[in-house]
């Protein structure tokens, strides 16, 4: 009998057997009673919404989309996807100016970069913070990420592009908005490390924001447009040029691999297996014996590693931690599995600030008790949140590699 062989409902909502495990791991439930919780908002609510759309509840917006419920679920229910899909399908709430500004990371980024020194100092001013808080509903406690005065792309064009064709192997780099506008140094580190490993780094040629902030702020049509555009670039890279796509941001990686097909209905199946997070890609090369890493002898760091939520969902934290553990001179501590609370633009919003900080508190406390030289994580927004909420500096594993590798010796070994 072929029937009932493969019982599967949309996002697996009907595979839920009401075991309540998701509620144990939701970071929002303990701190925000307005949020119905993953079980009610997700699979329980979905049945009711299928009965009648009036059962959609705007309070689903309190979901961080951290996917911790999905990681915990023993039934394979994509709880976060159910909730986000319901918001896409039913929400009549149109994004505010504040949400549009927070979501439009690339547009705002390109404008702010031009005027970076002014923007950075202006957003630090008290009166400006008060206006942002009062008018824009961006919490005044929030430290805004600084904008770089020159984008990564312009650095790349000036300093790197010319030499990239000279390498034996090649990849396309999805740098994301953060590297481009806020923190080009990570992109520069990535190019250094990959060049040392014998890889030429190429830009995709007009990548757009992955769309994660557009999705969480309800700007689905813009997100879909960005997704379709980016998948087109991925196809060009993977299928025509045979370059894999590598990103340094765990959230960008997760979004383009999983949220595109699950939430936006943008098919990426022909390229998905060739989109990697940097640490996953580098570890894969080591695992297959394709590259050799030569570390500096004088390196010493006490590292505490935080796994970003979306990296937990990707299941790839092990690659970042394994790379860190390989480095001689590194004292490694694994931080407990906890959400930092920022969840992209969520924590920037005035109404979420308290919740956001309460969610992150166990993590901040643990970092302070370990007192590492540096906290390491693969996510830019986790970095902002941790740097704002603790006295510790946060670095990306690729930047740690850039510091710890003897780049010349490594380059020689991989020539």
């Amino acid at each position: 009998m072929k029937m009932q062989e493969n019982n599967i409902s949309a996002n697996g909502f009907e595979q839920c057997i009401k075991c309540t495990v998701c509620t144990v791991y939701c970071p929002v439930v303990p701190v925000n009673p307005l949020y119905p919780g993953p079980k009610q908002a997700g699979p329980d609510g979905e049945r009711l919404r299928l009965k009648k759309g009036v059962f959609f509840d705007e309070s689903l917006k309190y979901c961080l989309n951290c996917k911790r419920c999905e990681v915990a679920c023993p039934s394979g229910v994509r709880i976060g996807d159910i909730i986000q899909s319901a918001r896409i399908k039913y929400s009549r709430h149109s994004p505010s100016l504040r949400d549009m500004i927070l979501a439009s990371t690339d547009l705002v980024g390109s404008t702010a970069t031009i005027a970076a020194p002014i923007v950075n100092s202006v957003v630090r001013l008290k009166p400006v913070k008060a206006v942002m808080d009062g008018v824009m509903k961006i919490d005044k406690h929030r430290t805004f990420p600084e904008y770089a005065s020159r984008t990564f792309e312009s650095w790349y064009r000036k300093h790197a592009r010319a030499s990239q064709d000279g390498y034996r192997n090649h990849l396309s780099y999805f740098h994301g908005c953060y590297v481009n506008y806020n923190f080009p140094k990570l992109g520069i580190d990535f190019v250094k490390v990959m060049n040392a490993l014998g890889y030429g780094v190429h830009l995709l040629g007009g990548e757009k924001c992955c769309g994660v902030a557009l999705i969480s702020n309800g700007m689905i049509n813009s997100a879909k447009k960005n997704a379709a555009h980016n998948v087109g670039l991925f196809k060009e890279s993977v299928e025509n040029r045979k370059y894999p796509v590598v990103a340094t941001s765990s959230t960008c990686t997760f979004t383009v691999r999983d949220e595109y097909p699950h939430l936006l209905g943008v098919d990426n199946s022909s390229v998905r297996d060739n989109i990697f997070l940097a640490t996953r890609f580098i570890y894969g090369l080591i695992d297959e014996g394709k590259v050799k890493l030569v570390f500096r002898k004088d390196y010493g760091r006490k590292i505490a590693y935080h796994t970003p939520c979306h990296l937990e969902k990707l299941g790839w934290g092990i690659f970042s931690t394994s790379l860190m553990k390989m480095i001689p001179g590194v004292t490694f501590s694994m931080l407990d599995s906890n959400c930092c609370g920022i969840a992209g633009t969520y924590g920037f919003k005035k109404e979420n600030y308290q919740v956001s900080q309460a969610i992150g508190k166990p993590l901040f406390d643990q970092i302070c008790s370990i007192a590492p030289d540096v906290v390491v994580t693969d996510c830019e927004t986790c970095k902002w949140q941790i740097e704002m909420s603790t006295p510790f500096k946060v670095m990306h594993p690729v930047s740690i590699l850039a510091e710890a590798l003897d780049l010349e010796a490594t380059a020689a070994a991989n020539r």
């Binding site: 057997i17 309540t20 144990v24 307005l34 119905p36 679920c73």
Partner: protein, 418 residues
């Protein structure tokens, strides 16, 4: 990626096996496709409550020798079972989980439905009664938290009054928990426990209990304390001084079960073990009765290799076994499963009778190697509730089978390599 041993399943069995192997210096990886059945624990471990024919068991170690040949305890071996049972308390103590009870004696726990149920060892603070006929106190105060629906004081009171105790039920209100009540569904044991993990909130709870207390000699509380902060549980006991404090399990999620899971995982990871959660093994290469490699959904093309593999994937709930209308199969390796072909033979029409499907699982040889197409797979071991040969619910042997088979597998793997 290469490991000494890869364990599929991160519940009680997988973690006991993983910790045991890490202690022996093996590099292990656990892959878990979601959180485990420990989240619904009763707070106690069963070893063997009754024989397959229903006879109640007083001394489980003795009873093991009378079990049929295919029973997991028989496969593990009576001597081994006795040794592991004797070891269990210490093993868990070293993991930071205190057990009470004796290896060779069953006792009774009071269930959330007010029933006395036979069990073996309990986690931490659950009181075990020596018999189901003796009262646990003369006058008992049963305390609930206002608005918490998953702790049924009326049932517990009725059960205790049957034995001649006088019971009084009360519910206390704690301001810090009121925000949870604003949410219609999230007043759950674990969410309550997260708030009560703050010592100052538990102190308020203690004060409320003291205020409610009259001449009762015994206090019954829901097991919603010490999810991550065990010291709050100790503080309750010490603050209520001369009164006997008894914790009774709540409906799921189970605070003591989750605490145990978190504790075991933490010990495992701190000993260097790798734990992948939310990932599913979807590829397995088996050649010449030997597992060559496996792959997972998240790892995609990158294969995972090990000298030995352990299948601790659980039963139907955890998808260690999968039931379709016309067959039951083991999804990772396609191993031989002991079960009747016809669906009507899988179940009893009375829910609380022995449900046959609970006993289905993979058959193994004496070395706990499961069979594939009639041949044992020599570098693969099975442990926990994926094993066939016992009805863990009817016999009350789930935790014992999980723990002892995991310890046995760890021994077999390390002995083989030595």
């Amino acid at each position: 990626m290469k490991f000494d041993t890869i364990i599929i399943g991160g519940g009680l069995s997988g973690l006991v096996c993983g910790i045991s192997l890490q202690k022996k210096g093996k590099r292990t990886l656990i892959i878990s496709s979601g959180q485990s059945a420990l989240h619904f624990s009763s707070g106690s471990f069963d070893f063997l409550d009754r024989m397959p024919d229903g006879t109640p068991v007083e001394n489980p170690i003795e009873a093991v020798s009378k079990l049929p040949a295919g029973h997991p305890y028989s496969v593990i071996g009576r001597e081994n079972v006795a040794a592991y049972a004797g070891n269990t308390k210490r093993f868990f103590e070293e993991c930071g989980v205190t057990l009470s009870g004796d290896p060779d004696r069953n006792r009774f726990r009071i269930t959330p439905a007010g029933v006395f149920k036979r069990t073996w060892m309990s986690i931490g603070d659950f009181a075990l009664a020596d018999s189901d006929r003796e009262k646990i106190g003369e006058r008992i105060l049963i305390v609930n938290i206002l608005g918490f629906l998953d702790f049924n004081t009326a049932f517990i009171a009725e059960g205790l009054e049957n034995l001649g105790s006088q019971c009084r039920c009360t519910a206390v209100k704690i301001d810090e928990l009121e925000h949870l009540r604003k949410n219609p569904s999230e007043m759950r044991a674990t969410n309550i426990a997260r708030v009560l993990d703050r010592q100052e909130v538990t102190d308020k709870f203690i004060a409320e209990v003291k205020a409610a207390l009259k001449d009762e000699d015994t206090i019954v509380l829901p097991a919603v304390f010490g999810l991550k902060n065990k010291s709050v549980t100790d503080s309750i006991k010490s603050s209520l001084g001369d009164r006997k404090v008894v914790f009774i399990a709540t409906m799921p999620p189970s605070v003591p079960g989750i605490r145990t899971q978190l504790q075991l995982r933490s010990v495992y990871e701190h000993s260097g073990g790798e734990y992948l959660i939310g990932d599913t093994v979807d590829k397995a290469v088996v050649s010449k009765n030997s597992v060559m490699s496996i792959g997972t959904v998240n790892f995609g093309d990158m294969s995972l290799e090990a000298d030995s593999y352990v299948l601790a994937s659980g039963s139907f709930f955890s998808k260690g076994l999968v039931a379709l209308p016309d067959r039951i199969f083991e999804p990772v390796f396609g191993l031989d499963v002991d079960c009747p072909a016809e669906r009507k033979d899988w179940y009893s029409t009375q829910l609380f009778d022995r449900q046959e499907y609970v006993s289905f699982g993979v058959r193994t040889d004496a070395g706990l190697h499961p069979f594939k197409s009639g041949e044992p797979v020599m570098n693969l071991y099975a442990a926990g509730s994926v094993l066939s040969g016992c009805n863990s619910l009817y016999e009350g042997c789930g935790a014992g089978v999980s723990i002892f088979s995991a310890m046995r597998v760890a021994d077999l793997i390390s002995n083989k390599e030595e």
